[in-house]
């Protein structure tokens, strides 16, 4: 084998090696991104499937104190939920977070399965007589709605 042929082989070898390393690196990056995204998505979906909340108020007797309305929401799922990430909407309007007070009944520090929270929501105005709707949404978008009378 002449020196020229050996040099050509060496160049081909280096080029082939570089391409192979590049291909494996690209495959690795893509597979990692795809599987990572799938795992994240599955984790989110699993959380949503295991989450359930129910507004258990008596629709005919919603406690009210001036413009503050009290709602009771039970964690009827299998996950512990964050009380500071609860969103309250009355008749489609979000009650500002600063106007919402959440307490776990029974003195528990966490809102675990079967625990009830008391939400005192102040929309800033008195609800007119008639039918209204409250929607309570938790951290992962799971929500429950109750139609009630004032």
């Amino acid at each position: 084998m002449s020196e020229a042929t050996a040099a050509t082989h060496l160049i081909f070898f280096i080029v082939a090696l570089s391409i192979a390393v590049g291909v494996v690196a690209v495959i690795n990056t893509n597979v990692q991104q795809l599987s990572g995204a799938t795992v994240e998505s599955a984790h989110t979906l699993s959380g949503q499937l295991r989450t359930d909340v129910t507004v258990i108020n008596d629709p005919e007797a919603i406690p009210a104190n001036n413009t503050v309305y009290t709602f009771y929401v039970k964690n009827t799922g299998k996950t512990t939920l964050a009380t500071d990430l609860v969103t309250v909407m009355i008749d489609g309007a979000i009650v500002p977070t600063g106007n919402v007070s959440v307490t776990v009944l029974g003195g528990a520090s966490e809102w675990g399965p079967a625990d009830v929270i008391r939400i005192e929501a102040d929309p800033g105005y008195s609800l007119a007589s008639g039918r209204h709707r409250v929607r309570v949404t938790v951290e992962n978008g799971v929500s429950d709605t109750l139609d009630f009378e004032v």
Partner: protein, 139 residues
């Protein structure tokens, strides 16, 4: 030929690495699918539990003349046993502590729920099971 042999071996190594990466990714995705399937099973179990649960307030009475004591008789009209200690009781819309019997509350069994120290004569009661199934009635 030696150079060719080394090239072929290196190609095998890279092909093997690629397959290893793909298999690793596939295993992660399979684990994710299993997690979702388990969560779906939990979801259906919760829904089934709700469908099998039903409560009915069959009777009530109020004693005293301020403070008042409310007795509510509630029948488990579902097909699943419940724990009477895990109920939530609202009187006139407000949550109250209550007393009742201990043990398991079997289907078709009626228990008495007592709420004491009510400052106003009660007119409505709600009893909620742990899974959110509700019975309400005028009392």
């Amino acid at each position: 030929m030696n150079g060719m042999g080394i090239s072929v071996n290196i190609a095998y190594i890279f092909a093997f690495l690629s397959i290893l990466i793909l298999v690793g990714g596939g295993i992660e995705v399979m684990h994710a699918r299993v997690e979702v399937q388990e969560a779906r099973d939990d979801h259906y179990a919760l829904a089934g539990d709700k469908l099998r649960t039903n409560l009915t307030i069959v009777s009530s009475n109020t004693t005293g003349s301020g403070p008042y004591t409310l007795n509510v008789w509630v029948e488990n009209t579902g097909s699943t046993p419940l724990n009477p200690a895990d109920l939530t009781v609202l009187v006139d819309g407000v949550e109250h502590d209550y007393t009742t019997v201990g043990g398991v509350w079997s289907p078709m069994e009626t228990i008495t729920i007592t709420v004491e120290d009510l400052q106003v004569s009660p007119s409505r009661a709600v009893v909620a099971a742990p899974n959110g199934v509700i019975a309400s009635a005028d009392v």
